[in-house]
Amino acid sequence: TGGHTTEILRLLSCLSESYSPRHYIFADSDKMSEAKIRSFEQKRSETFSNSQFTLDRIPRSREVSQSWTSSVVTTLYSLLYSLPLTYKLKPDLILCNGPGTCVPVCASALLLGLLGIKRTIIVYVESICRVETLSLSGKILYYFSDYFIVQWPDLKAKYPRSVYLGRIV
């Protein structure tokens, strides 16, 4: 969604051409991200000749402030979509930054790893908006990601397993 998409595109801005093809997964209720992504990829193709990317939508895992119990249900529903999608894509690397959408996708990747089907590196970058507390996705994926990046020193102090590179968006 919105801010998350802007941040993740900034994160991608300096990546080399080795990070290809790029598969973008976002919520079906998200109206604006597709345009931002296409615009980003369009610009990128002006510099890099072999730009490949795909776009996929899955049901939104959770609305803001949705209750705990119904969130579990909607996330499981999203998992029904994210699991076959992740199986199809078999990504080497998942880069995510906090919208609820990333939880079922990462869960799917973890499951595929446990089953010996595909080992995916999961890199989570917490939003720049998070200075003192982690988002709900962050709290969950802090334990399940391979690399967990925060952008403010307070969070690095609270979450010692995290990586602090300063502000990166």
Binding site: S16, C129, T133
Partner: protein
Amino acid sequence: FSFKDSLAEDLRRADLVISHAGAGSCLETLEAGKPLIVVINEKLMNNHQLELAKQLHRDGHVYYCNCSTLLETLQSMDLSTLKPFPPGKPEKFALFLDEVVGLQ
């Protein structure tokens, strides 16, 4: 103004921006190099949205007030004391990721 596609043009022409504490608004304004006063409405905001505004204020990049103190802030502010906001460094992230995946 409702939901213009982009405020970039308006931002360019502004001398001062007064905004709510939404992260996108704050960051866009600071990156455009414009002085910013962030107005907090505690009743409406989720606590976490205040974190960034508070930090930016602590670091000297923005002024910070609520609806009732806005006038006072406008009267007493000295915009020259606001510090410029250096851009983030996605290149550091790229270097880090290259190491992680074994490209270095």
